[in-house]
């Protein structure tokens, strides 16, 4: 997953983009106890939740666009498994929208992780 690619995509939306805020979720080792995490989903519903959140975020906050990526499969500690990136004119609205999208995704998205 390339964070740079998401930032470039959002930056291309408008010449008025002045800030892109990126949240990355990373697998923790829990003090070496965890070998990794396995992520799975209900694909059709995940796609709908992602589309809904992208639309809701730009209506709710004065931001240009949102990108959401959830990786699926098995990952080791240190690997990035989840990215939310938000482009705004200024940092304030981009931070607020990013936080909202991350929280809502965790609440609404049919994603399950299993410890390995």
């Amino acid at each position: 997953m390339s964070v740079d690619r998401l930032v470039e995509k959002l930056n291309a939306i408008s010449p008025d983009v002045g800030a892109v805020v990126v949240f990355t979720g990373i697998v923790r080792s829990e003090g070496g106890k965890l070998k990794g995490l396995e992520y799975e989903t209900y694909t059709k519903m995940l796609e709908k939740v992602v589309d809904d959140l992208k639309g809701e975020a730009v209506r709710r906050f004065p931001v240009f666009g949102v990108e959401i990526e959830q990786k699926l499969g098995t990952f080791e500690p240190g690997e990035v498994t989840f990215v939310v990136a938000v482009a705004g004119r200024h940092r304030q609205e981009a931070f607020e929208a990013c936080r909202w999208v991350v929280d809502e995704f965790k609440r609404r998205a049919p994603v399950w992780k299993k410890e390995l």
Binding site: Y42, K44, M45, F82, P110, V111, W112
Partner: protein, 62 residues
């Protein structure tokens, strides 16, 4: 965890039920999230012919 539900009930099951609450009772599941046609619904929701119903463990990902 979703896989665990699949192992318990198979990938798809045929159950006759009028509401989501009745469905969970017949499956013997107490704690679950149910989506009908990709939207999360409550126990009173009435299931219609042809609806896609997913019974899932509580979400914990992201």
């Amino acid at each position: 965890m979703f896989a665990k539900f699949r192992e318990m009930f198979g990938k798809e099951v045929d159950v006759e039920a009028g509401t989501v609450g009745e469905l969970l009772k017949k499956l013997g599941i107490e704690d679950a999230v149910v989506a009908v046609n990709l939207e999360v619904v409550g126990e009173d929701f009435r299931i219609r012919e042809g609806d896609e119903v997913a019974v899932m463990p509580r979400f914990n990902g992201g």
